[in-house]
C-alpha cells in the first residue's frame, strides 16, 4: 500500500509519513519547490529502507492537476492513502488591504485542495476504497478578527471535506478532516504563542497517522483542542463579537 503526500516540505506531513514508512508503506512526496520532494524521497528511502518517489506539483496551477493525478494513479495502482498538507498562513492585516494576499490565502488553503481532492475522490470512488486526509485548522471553527482570512479558507475546507465524506462514505472511502492547534513549524516560528499549547510536528504527525489508520472522520490534534474549540464555539455571538481574539 502507498501514501501520497501533497505538501512534501511540511514538517507535519513528514512526521505523519514517517509512521507510514515505518509500517512499510511506499511514499510519494509531491510538492511545489523544485528538487525538494526528491530530496525528501531520498531521505525516506534511506532512513526507512522503503520505496519512496517524488512528483512536482503546484497547488495553484490547477490546469496541471489532472495530469498529475493521472500520473500518480497510473504509476501506483496501489495508492491507498492521500494526505494533503497545503497551507498558507499569510498576514491577516495585509490581506485586509491587499486582495492578492487574501486571494493567495484562499486559493492555497481551499481552492487548490478542492481541485486536487476531486480528482483522487473520483478514482477512489470507482475503486471503492481509500482514505483522503487533509489538514484544516482549528482556526476554521470560528472566525476571529486576528486571522479570519486564513480561518475562513480553512473553514470552507472543513465544510468541503464534510460533504465529500458524506458522498464517499457509502462506497467505503474515508475522508479525514485534521484540525491542528498551534504547531511548532516554520509557519509559526517566532510567533508569540502560548508555549504549553504549542505541539511538536511529531506529536501531530502521530495523531494524523492513527486517525487515518483507524478511519476517523475528524481529528483535533492535540486532542484538547476539541474542548478548547467547543468552548470557543459556544460563546454567544453578541459576546464573541466584542472579544479581542
Amino acid at each position: 500500500m502507498s501514501l501520497l503526500v501533497l505538501g512534501a516540505n511540511s514538517l507535519i506531513a513528514q512526521a505523519a509519513a514517517s509512521h507510514f514508512a515505518e509500517a512499510g508503506h511506499k511514499i510519494i512526496f509531491a510538492g511545489r519547490i523544485q528538487d525538494e520532494p526528491e530530496k525528501f524521497a531520498k531521505d525516506f528511502s534511506i532512513r526507512y529502507n522503503i520505496e519512496c518517489t517524488s512528483e512536482i506539483v503546484d497547488a495553484l496551477d490547477y490546469s496541471t492537476h489532472k495530469k498529475f493525478a493521472e500520473d500518480v494513479i497510473s504509476k501506483d495502482p496501489e495508492l491507498d492513502y492521500i494526505l494533503i498538507v497545503l497551507g498558507y498562513l499569510g498576514t491577516q492585516e495585509k490581506a485586509q488591504s491587499n486582495f492578492d494576499e487574501a486571494h493567495r490565502i484562499i486559493d492555497t488553503n481551499y481552492t487548490g485542495v478542492v481541485s486536487v481532492c476531486e480528482l483522487f475522490a473520483a478514482e477512489f470512488e470507482t475503486r471503492k476504497k481509500g482514505t483522503i486526509a487533509a489538514i484544516s485548522s482549528v482556526a476554521g471553527d470560528r472566525g476571529r478578527q486576528s486571522n479570519y482570512m486564513y480561518g475562513s479558507a480553512k473553514g470552507a475546507l472543513s465544510v468541503y471535506l464534510q460533504g465529500l465524506r458524506n458522498r464517499l462514505a457509502k462506497c467505503g472511502v474515508n475522508v479525514l478532516t485534521i484540525k491542528p492547534g498551534f504547531v511548532n513549524t516554520p509557519m509559526t516560528y517566532g510567533m508569540p504563542l502560548p508555549k504549553p499549547l504549542v505541539a511538536s510536528p511529531q506529536k501531530v504527525g502521530k495523531d494524523i497517522y492513527k486517525a487515518m489508520i483507524k478511519g476517523k472522520s475528524v481529528v483535533y490534534t492535540p486532542f484538547y483542542w476539541r474542548w478548547i474549540m467547543f468552548i470557543v464555539k459556544s460563546i454567544p455571538e453578541f459576546i464573541f463579537k466584542k472579544l479581542k481574539l
Binding site: N9, L11, K39, F40, K42, D43, I46, R47, N49, P186, Y189, G190
Partner: protein, 450 residues
C-alpha cells in the same frame, strides 16, 4: 523577513547565558539572508557546554531542519547527509543494517555539523582518531553566500580549518563520511576496578592491543587512601559468534530505547560535597571487575538515558573542564590536576580519563596524550580553580577542549594553541574576511576580533 525568537540561550552547561536571536532556517536561502543582515552563529543540538553556539550579536542559525540523508552506499558504508542529521538519526537508521559511526562522542544528541565543528572524539581515539579521520568531504556556505566543497584534495585549507573550527569558517551544509561495518549492536564490555592512578596507567598499556575502546571513570572526590581510585571500562564491537542465542535473536530486533527525563531545573543545587562523595563511593562500590555484553546504547550513551540531565545542576549550571596532556609526563600532570581538584573539594561525579592518539587538524583538540574531563557545579571559587588548572595544563604543554570550555581567556587560549591559532586565523581571514561567522566563544578567545 527574518524569522527568529529572542531568548536567553546557553550551551549544554547552562553557563554562560546570553540574550540571543535564535532562528531555525529551513534552507540555505534563509541563512544567506541572515548573513546579509549581520553576524551568524551556527548551532546544532546545543551540546557544546559553553558559549560556542550562543551570541548576543547577529543571529543563531540552528541546523535542525536541515537534517536529510542524501545518499548511502551499502557496499562501502559511505554516508552523505545534511549537517543537521544527528547521531541518533544515524544510529536509528543504520545499526540494524550493520553500520555504526566510526567515532562517537558520549551523547547521540550531536549533529554531524557539530561533530565536525568540534572534531569530536570517542573512547577509541587512541586507536582510530577523531570524527575527521573518517570525513571525506563537506560543503560549506561561506559568508559571501558562495557554497564550496572541500576535502583533503580540494580547498584543503578550508577543510582543515573547519574541522574543530567551532563553526567559524562558514555554515556546514552537508558532509560525506564513512561508517563502520558491525555484525550486531552489542559490545564486549570489560570492567576493571582499580585502586589508583598507577594501576590505571599500567592497565591502559596492558590492554592497549586487545580493545579499541577504553575509558576510565575517576573518583575525583576521594582523598587519603582512596585517592585516585577508578574504574577502567574496555570494549570492542562484539562478533556474532561471541553472542549467546538470546542476544543473537535480540540483535535482529528493532531497538526500543527507554528514557526518563529531568523535567525541570532543580531550583537549588542538590550537588554538594556530601552528595557527590556519596554518589562516587556508591558508584565505585557497586562496580565489579567483570566481562559481559552491553547494547551500544548503554555502552556509549549512558547519560542519554536521562534527558536533560544537566537540569540537576540547578539554574546556575555547570562547567565542563577537559584537558589533554602530552603522553610523556601525562601521569604526573593528571596526578597534579586531581590533587588540586580534590583539595578544592568541588569535584564532580562525571570525571573521565582516557588515552588519546595522534591527530591531524588545526584547532582539533586531541593529540597523543591523556585527556581528563570533569564537571563542576558553577559556584564560588570554581572559575578561579579552573584557572589554576589552566596553569598546570600550560606547564605540561597541554590544552583544553573548546567545545567544553566557558572560561578560557584569549591569552591562555593562544598559549595552549600556539602555532595553530595563527595558522587557523589566516584561513579564517581568507574565507570570512568580515568575521560574519562568530560566537561568544570566538570573541572571548580572540578567534573573531571585535
Amino acid at each position: 523577513m527574518l524569522k527568529f525568537e529572542e531568548i536567553q540561550l546557553s550551551g549544554f552547561g547552562k553557563y554562560p547565558k546570553t540574550r540571543s536571536k535564535l532562528s531555525r532556517p529551513s534552507g540555505v536561502n534563509e541563512i544567506k539572508d541572515f548573513l546579509k543582515s549581520g553576524e551568524v552563529t551556527p548551532r546544532g543540538l546545543g551540546r557544546s557546554y559553553g558559549d560556542a553556539a550562543i551570541s548576543d550579536k547577529g543571529i543563531i542559525a540552528e541546523s535542525l531542519l536541515m537534517n536529510k540523508f542524501l545518499s548511502f552506499d551499502e557496499s562501502t558504508g559511505i554516508l552523505s547527509c545534511e549537517a543537521g542529521v544527528s547521531y541518533k538519526d544515524i544510529l536509528d537508521t543504520f545499526t540494524i543494517r550493520g553500520w555504526f559511526p566510526y567515532v562517537t562522542p558520549g551523547t547521540k544528541y550531536v549533529t554531524v555539523g557539530g561533530a565536525i565543528a568540534s572534531d569530536v572524539h570517542g573512547k577509541n581515539h587512541h586507536k582510530e582518531g577523531s570524527f575527521s579521520n573518517f570525513l571525506i568531504s563537506m560543503r560549506i556556505l561561506l559568508s559571501s553566500g558562495e557554497i564550496i566543497e572541500c576535502s583533503r584534495e580540494s580547498n584543503a585549507d578550508l577543510f582543515w580549518a573547519t574541522i574543530g573550527g567551532m563553526g567559524l569558517t562558514g555554515f556546514i551544509l552537508d558532509a560525506v563520511f564513512r561508517l563502520r561495518k558491525i555484525e550486531n549492536p552489542y559490545m564486549t564490555n570489560k570492567v576493571l576496578k582499580l585502586k589508583n592512578l598507577t594501576a590505571l596507567f599500567e592497565k591502559f598499556e596492558e590492554y592497549d592491543e586487545d580493545y579499541i575502546y577504553s575509558v576510565a571513570w575517576m573518583d575525583i572526590v576521594a582523598s587519603g587512601s582512596k585517592y585516585g581510585r577508578n574504574i577502567l571500562m574496555l570494549g570492542n564491537h562484539a562478533g556474532n559468534e561471541d553472542l549467546n542465542s538470546r542476544l543473537q535473536v535480540k540483535s535482529k530486533e528493532k531497538y526500543v530505547e527507554k528514557k526518563i527525563s529531568v523535567p525541570f531545573e532543580i531550583p537549588f543545587s542538590t550537588l554538594n560535597k556530601v552528595s557527590i562523595s556519596l554518589f562516587n563511593s556508591a558508584f565505585y562500590m557497586k562496580a565489579r571487575t567483570k566481562e559481559d555484553f552491553q547494547h551500544y546504547d548503554k555502552y556509549f550513551y549512558p547519560l542519554d538515558f536521562i534527558l536533560n540531565w544537566n537540569h540537576i545542576y540547578s539554574k546556575s549550571g555547570l562547567i565542563q573542564y577537559q584537558l589533554n596532556i602530552p603522553e610523556d609526563r601525562g601521569q604526573e600532570a593528571v596526578d597534579k590536576v586531581l590533587k588540586k581538584v580534590v583539595e578544592f573539594g568541588g569535584g564532580s561525579f562525571l570525571a573521565v580519563l582516557k588515552k588519546m592518539g595522534d591527530q591531524d587538524g588545526i584547532l582539533s583538540f586531541p593529540f597523543k596524550g591523556y585527556t581528563l574531563s570533569m564537571d563542576f557545579p558553577v559556584k564560588k571559587g570554581v572559575i578561579k580553580m579552573c584557572k589554576q588548572l589552566d596553569d598546570i595544563v600550560l606547564e605540561y604543554g597541554g590544552r583544553t577542549y573548546l567545545t567544553k570550555d566557558s572560561i578560557l581567556d584569549e591569552l591562555t587560549f593562544k598559549k595552549m594553541y600556539t602555532g595553530l591559532w595563527e595558522k587557523w586565523m589566516e584561513i579564517k581571514h581568507k574565507y570570512d574576511p568580515e568575521n560574519k561567522f562568530s560566537s561568544s566563544l570566538a570573541r572571548r578567545i580572540g578567534l573573531c576580533p571585535f
